[in-house]
């Protein structure tokens, strides 16, 4: 019976969990940098103010009572908060683990030692967008590269797991090999993840200067697919050119072979986030995801998170996107890839089309090919 008392990890679940497993919290609305592709700032739907310490601690108590397992603190730049140690203690006290998303520039010995001492940190993610200051600083500001690398070294000295995220844009797409060498050989990181600048926030104002065009996207896909072989899968992606390159290869091969539809193919998909996690803005507004920051579901310490999680019509609609066939959209009319497509991220779909329940044009393979792109 022991086996029957234990469920295999990852086995399918029939319904929505009683409470979210994880939360993404924008713990601050401030940042010391002004990156030209930042998704966070310049969202007209967002009130850029932040809550005092005691309000977050009260909310962390609620999370503890709900059995939330992991919290990711982002921003803005979370290391700008002077009360960060107190906030982390609040998470630890409530039996949670945590991660931090950072630009790395403010990480010093003291805070690194504190984080290590909690023994609850899954990782600190530092953004590195270039192999040298010239590339990295092109979008993130002068001096940010040197300080980010120093922050990584500081974390490594204190044996805090460092997760690096490389956001690919027009200014670093030709630097990917050097970035991989820096991160995986010189800094000896176990791996890093990639995505691409997306049409959100500040990036919308700088789209022409930042976003990859079709040829640059093709170059990024080809380079990253080659590097993943060279570095034996130490480069990962849930979005951006590497994820697209892998997915689009599969879709193209399936179409060529007349393969049956993919599981979940042919209808709108979701990233899975509304099934396991939820987000909170710096002003305490509960939202489905940081990429759907306009969609306020309630306010922390005023509304019950469990109630929102279980009964929010917005969340439930996101969870049932897979009942909407892609053939219902004119955008997908006569597309041969439909049986293998899920329409991708609802956040990006909203940013581009103004509709959550719509395929994301940015993730459209047919459009990529029509624009002259070739799958590597």
């Amino acid at each position: 019976m022991t086996a029957s008392l234990v469920r295999e990890a990852g086995s399918p679940s029939p319904a929505v969990m009683h409470t979210p497993r994880s939360l993404d919290i924008e713990i601050t609305a401030r940042c010391n940098l002004r990156c030209s592709y930042c998704y966070f700032f310049n969202n007209p739907a967002v009130d850029y103010r932040e809550l005092p310490t005691d309000e977050w601690l009260e909310f962390f108590d609620e999370l503890g009572s709900l059995g939330v397992m992991n919290v990711t603190l982002a921003g803005g730049e979370p290391f700008l908060r002077k009360d960060l140690p107190v906030l982390l203690e609040g998470l630890v006290r409530n039996r949670m683990r945590f991660s931090l998303l950072s630009n790395g520039t403010l990480i010093d010995e003291e805070i690194a030692a504190f984080i290590a001492g909690t023994r609850r940190c899954d990782y600190v993610q530092v953004s590195v967008d270039g192999s040298c200051a010239k590339t990295h600083d092109s979008c993130r500001g002068q001096g940010s590269f040197e300080r980010a690398i120093r922050g990584i070294h500081t974390l490594q000295r204190h044996r805090v797991n460092v997760a690096v995220r490389v956001t690919i844009h027009r200014h670093n797409v030709n630097d990917l090999e050097n970035i991989a060498r820096l991160l995986l050989e010189e800094l000896d990181l176990p791996g890093f993840s990639t995505n691409a600048a997306g049409y959100l926030g500040t990036c919308r104002l700088n789209a022409a200067d930042v976003l990859l065009n079709t040829q640059e996207r093709e170059l990024a896909m080809a380079t990253l697919l080659r590097l993943t072989q060279q570095y034996k899968d130490r480069i990962s992606a849930n979005a951006g050119p590497l994820a697209e390159g892998r997915m689009w290869r599969r879709m193209d091969e399936a179409l060529a072979q007349g393969a049956p539809a993919f599981p979940n193919g042919g209808s709108l998909g979701a990233c899975g986030c509304p099934g396991r996690k939820i987000s909170v803005r710096a002003d305490g507004a509960i939202v489905p995801c940081s990429m759907l920051a306009h969609s306020e579901l309630g306010q922390i310490n005023r509304d019950s998170l469990a109630e929102i999680w279980q009964h929010s019509p917005v969340l439930n609609q996101l969870r049932s996107r897979n009942t909407i066939p892609l053939t219902a959209f004119e955008f997908c009319a006569d597309c041969s890839y439909v049986p293998y497509c899920t329409g991708s991220c609802p956040g990006l779909a909203y940013a581009i089309t103004g509709q959550v329940d719509h395929p994301s044009p940015d993730a459209c393979l047919r459009r990529f090919v029509k624009d002259g792109g070739t799958i590597p």
Binding site: M1, L5, V6, A9, P14, H18, T19, G67, M69, R119
Partner: protein
């Protein structure tokens, strides 16, 4: 399970009831997690340091239908597995002392 004593659920471990009384035990100190069924949840809740395995099994028999005749052995093994992973400790003191 070779331990003799009353099992105690590690107080740092989080019990997350997720679907239809299925649950996850999560140890935030180690990041270890294990999924358990409703009987496992009842066993977990019974591990208060006051009850021995036999008493926990008796409680299971009272509250669940069609409990296996091997329940004592199986639950003992289950508790032993949890103990190996740091989810459970044992009170080895004589409770009558």
């Amino acid at each position: 399970m070779n331990q003799i004593g009353r099992p105690i659920a590690n107080p740092i471990v989080v019990l997350r009831v997720e679907f239809d009384d299925w649950a996850v035990l999560f140890n935030p100190d180690t990041a270890a997690a294990v999924g358990i069924n409703p009987v496992g949840v009842a066993v977990w809740r019974g591990m208060d340091g006051k009850s021995g395995i036999e008493e926990i099994v008796a409680e299971i028999n009272r509250n669940f239908e069609e409990v296996s005749t091997d329940a004592l052995e199986e639950i003992s093994e289950f508790v032993g597995v949890l103990a190996e992973q740091g989810f459970v400790g044992f009170d080895l003191t004589d409770k009558h002392r």
